[in-house]
Amino acid sequence: MRVGIPRSLFYYYYYPLWKTFFQDLGAEVVTSDWTNRLTVEKGIESAVDEACFPIKVYYGHVRELCRKSIDYIFIPRLVSVEPRSYICPKFMGLPDMIKAALHDLPSVIDITIDISKTNKFLDRDIISVGNIFTNNKNRIKEAYHHGQYELRKCRELCKDDYNISEAIRIWDGEQLVLPSTYNLNIGVLGHGYSLYDQTISMNLIDRLRKMGCRVQVVETLDRNSIEVKAAEIPKRIFWTLGRKAFGSALFMEGQRDIDGIIYLACFGCGPDSMIGEIIERKIKSKPFMMITVDEHTGEAGMVTRLEAFCDMLARRRVAANEDYISTHG
């Protein structure tokens, strides 16, 4: 049996877990291609205009998979991956949105992952997904635990400055080498599914590396220190990814060796519009730039902004020894 996993959205966070799980149960895992122009076009065609860019791209990935003769397509409903926090309303309605828009879908595996209040139902739902392939409950549980182990292994790789997307590629057997010399150190924040997708982010991370920057992302930082920083705000942020981005921004501000911070937001993203604003108001001692992207790609504008930002950082570094330069206005 062939199970299709769209290479989009939470692929960038959980792919090793899902792949191991389905493979251990004897299924063949098929993914769509990396996001490309065609995916984007197909996605824009199927999704409503007001949806955010990553969601439109997801439609494109699902349509691509539909043509690949698969038996099942895996579209999880990710409500909450940790207690008392959510991802985003669009993720909560994703399977229903896809079913309403696309008609020739293979059978959809739409497991609901909601551990905001209790994770009692998660185990039950995992078993019910596993039951599609086998009746052996222990085998399903083992496959799930094996998946979690592989996911941890993959995330360990991030400590060496790889972002999750690269970590997944290495975990999948690819060879990747990062440039070892750099003259600037930049923190890059944003939702992983837009930041690490090379088409959505217009290759932001690699562009920075080519300009001689070392790029730090949420995953390369120490998890606990991020949480400590994120708790400094009076009201806990209830979006998992938003809270991590905010904590990371504060943490990066405190690190002497980080020169500047870039936040990549998607047009129309609800959490980004709030978190970006809070970060911008809180970060006073480090240069901060917010880049908003959507499907109207114009790489030139982005490159200009990145170059200007890096030039400014480099000059600031030289001048920092002589005199103080304000980070804003």
Binding site: E50, C88, D96, G268, E277
Partner: protein, 366 residues
Amino acid sequence: MKITFPHMGNMHIAIKALMEGLKLEVVPPPPISKRTFELGIKNSPEFACMPLKINLGNFIEALENGADTIVMAGGWGPCRFGYYAQVERDILEDLGYKFKMIVLESPDSKVYDLTNQLKSLGENVSLWEAIKAIKYGWSKLNALELVERQFDYYLPRVWDKNRVEKINDEAAVKIDEAASKTEAQAAAMNAISEMRLLDLKLNQPLKVGLVGEIYTLLEPAANYDICRLLGRMDVEVSRSTYLSEWLNDHVMGGWVKKSNRKQLIAIAKPYLNYEVGGHGLETVGHTVNFARMKHDGIIQIGPLTCMPEIVAQSIIPSISEREGIPCMTLWFDELSGTAGLNTRLEAFADMIRRQKIRINNYMKEA
């Protein structure tokens, strides 16, 4: 302590009554105007949804008028609204205003947070007086909605639309000024009997269901008064949400009035199977409900980039197809311009009118 709060339709009348009952001084923000929008837009995050911008404009204008305490609602996601108060406070503080903000929300971890907030509001009154104040506010809200429902019924049917609008507006002022529950009810009854005397058109108006995000539904300034625009085109509007129903479901736990929220969730089932925050699930439920109640069309409204409504919008075409009802989605943002809106509404009304005639002719032949 001079208290202010954000506008949402006629809510300020009820809240004013409630706060006065709690012996608190209230400074309601001036009615939403072009300046409110400008102030809000200038100081808000660019991509925030419109209610935040209007809220902020309200607060700035109220603070200018001498308010020093802001009461705002909160929430724990996943909709953006839950984080409004925090962002608004940061912005206003950066602008240099001095004020206290009381955010009413269910507590995250510490229960005493909520009780403290409530206590700070009602420190001058006894429990009995507080209950009386709530009842007083609630009765004004009910009187207002009584008039509003009749207004929605008569506006598309009467010849003299200006007159019926005037009666409605005057009733709202009278209810606001009313000093007691009976006075408020009398004002409502007077207005309704006045409406009944007006001359009616002979033909039945078209019926359109209005669904969507609650702020955009309830605040005329946020939807360019879409209900009246439609009413003037001889289209009767069935509103999906009234403030009292929403308060009943979400604040009072559903025990004040009979609630149909459970049924709504049940009929949304084949289309949307999970809560999506905000009003997404209710929008889908109401759409199915209106379709089955034989409405001629459905209009969904929301602020641009509203996440739960985007989920609903993605699902509505399949409801439209399966239940056989024309649907249209309208997004509102700060770019005002009623001409475009009017054209779209007229086109929609024309389309459903023609479809209705076609179906009627077909029925006659058969």
